[in-house]
């Protein structure tokens, strides 16, 4: 703490002298200097943390009513929907909240990609963000199993079976994950325990993510570093006010889904109780996993990675590696991107590749929702190939060939020019 804040309230002062929480809050959320040119795309980090809190609160209330047993889980969720006071509201908030969380976080990530928020000195901030995404995915997957509908059960079966692709120990790991020889009561019980645990780990990593952004300060649409106090305004009231606008608008959209289309993001099959003897004809993951699902299925069945007569990896393992690789590659992005310029505003070529990449991700999402047959297979493979090429080829090469537009000398410069 550079300087201590002076407080008038004696209780606050007494606490603060012994544990400077109020000084910390004042520094980080009141006086904290923010680049004054942040646009509304910078709202999404704050939105994500609000959704996380909403998910934890509604989740704890739901856990008080839920029964993690294969013969009662489905009925206990329906009891929440029918008999528990406002149970339907809590459950629909939690269910749609998962989708909202991913929408907000995906936008947050693409904002980072567009404006180069992952570049030095924010590499660790970015990597913590990737950890957050991985934790969110695990938490969402575990939570989706709990209502014990058909999609819950078969989703759990398919995803846990991915681990059988690991050489030598794969089958053992799958049995260990299940606690049995199929997805059954022990699996449901541990998934519930883990689903309750993970959000708190997530919360802790979000805390680190926030601390990290307060060390480096926020990036901004020009990508140019803050140079003088002229470039910044204090967090409060400027960004509390601006974030509030985005937050209320977001809550409006969220509420519209919860109250008027609560099952829009869901699958009808999950309102059928899990039946271990019958797989639904067309199983698909939740929408936020679809791009990854498409990458998983993109590897050709006859794919064999052979080396000197040894079969190193088969198609299943290659698919799994590709799927996890799609997220893992993000960890290396700060070093794969060789351009010194952060913001796509001053990178005329990268700007186009950014939109191509966004379109590619949406295309992968669409492919993931379709049955793996006909043209979809080939489109899926091409889109997967581009996904990895974007990181492994486009990013490194562009930095060498692209001529960036001239950067403004400071954040204030373009503003001053416009206004003069």
């Amino acid at each position: 703490m550079a300087t201590k804040t002076e407080f008038n309230n004696p209780v606050v002062r007494w606490v603060d002298e012994r544990l400077p929480v109020f000084t910390y809050l004042d520094h980080e959320y009141n006086q904290f200097p923010m680049p004054k040119n942040l646009n509304y795309w910078w709202n999404f980090g704050a939105l994500a943390s609000v959704v996380l809190v909403l998910m934890i609160v509604t989740g704890i209330m739901l856990a008080m009513q839920y029964t993690a047993h294969v013969s009662m889980a489905f009925e206990s969720v329906e009891r929440i929907m029918r008999d528990v006071n406002y149970g339907w509201l809590l459950r629909y908030i939690h269910m749609n909240g998962a989708s909202m969380f991913f929408i907000v976080v995906y936008i947050h990530v693409f904002r980072g990609l567009y404006f180069g928020s992952y570049k030095a000195p924010r590499e660790l901030l970015w990597m913590l963000g990737v950890v957050i995404i991985l934790l969110m995915m695990a938490t969402a997957f575990l939570g989706y199993v709990l209502p014990w509908g058909q999609m819950s059960f078969w989703g759990a079966t398919v995803i846990t079976n991915l681990f059988s692709a690991i050489p030598f120990v794969g089958d053992w790991i799958v049995t260990w994950l299940w606690g049995g020889f199929s997805v059954d009561n022990p699996t449901l019980n541990r998934f519930f325990a883990l689903h309750y645990l993970m959000p708190f780990i997530l919360f802790a990593v979000v805390g680190l993510h926030v601390v990290a952004v307060h060390i480096t300060g926020s990036n901004n649409p020009t990508g140019v570093d803050v140079q003088s106090p002229r470039d910044t305004v204090s967090f409060h009231p400027y960004f509390t006010a601006k974030d509030s606008v985005g937050l209320v608008l977001f809550l409006f959209v969220f509420a519209a889904f919860v109250f008027f289309a609560p099952n829009y993001f869901g699958e009808p099959d999950n309102y059928i109780k899990a039946n271990p003897l019958q797989t639904p004809p067309h199983i698909v993951p939740e929408w936020y996993f679809l791009p990854f699902y498409a990458i998983l299925r993109a590897v050709p069945d006859n794919f064999i990675g052979a080396w000197m007569g040894f079969t190193l990896i088969n198609a299943k393992l290659a698919g799994v590696i590709a799927m996890f690789g799609a997220t893992i590659v993000l960890f290396f992005l700060p070093w794969l991107d060789t351009s010194k310029v952060r913001s796509a505003r001053y990178r005329p070529v990268y700007k186009w590749f950014f939109w191509v990449f966004l379109a590619d991700c949406l295309l992968l999402g669409y492919i993931g929702s379709q049955p793996a047959e006909g043209a979809f297979i080939w489109i899926g493979r091409a889109a997967t190939a581009y996904y990895f090429a974007h990181f492994l080829i486009v990013f490194p090469v562009l930095g060498w060939f692209e001529t960036p537009k001239p950067l403004p000398t400071s954040i204030s410069e373009p503003v001053l020019k416009e206004n003069s």
């Binding site: 609160v57 209330m61 008999d83 006071n85 406002y86 509201l89 809590l90 204090s234 009231p237």
Partner: protein, 183 residues
Amino acid sequence: MADEVQTPESDDDGTRRREFLYLATLGVGAVGAAAFAWPIIDSMNPAADVLALSSIEVDLSPIQEGQSVTVKWRGKPVFIRRRTSDEIAAARAVKAGDLVDPQPDEERVQQPEWLILVGVCTHLGCIPLGQKSGEPTGDFGGWFCPCHGSHYDTSGRIRKGPAPKNLDVPNYVFLDDSTVRIG
């Protein structure tokens, strides 16, 4: 909050208007947050299926004079005793003024023969003994709580021991001579 946005050229009137706008917005937001707290709190109240079970009907016809039965109501035992004339007499002989929690027997029963009580000791919630033959009934022929030694009489009133109050009498109605609805 308003101090930081004040600029030298802003007039007092405008400042006051903005000040009001900030407070009003904060207030409306706070009302929204408080309103959202209610569904969260209310979800912990008894649910519709729990409330639906909160009244039970008991058939009294198999109970002989001098016998007791215990039925479960709202997760707690309810003692139903068909009292003998001696027990009724004993309960009515006591002067209300001598009691820890003064209440005449007449106020605790609808029909003198049938004593209906929530079988939970008013001290710390244990279940008193005395329902089954052979169990201790305490010094006053009613019930005896083994946890901390509270003695209840044949009207379920506390006579000795740490319990502060008589055993509760639940709401009940006789639907006919041999059926009672509790709750």
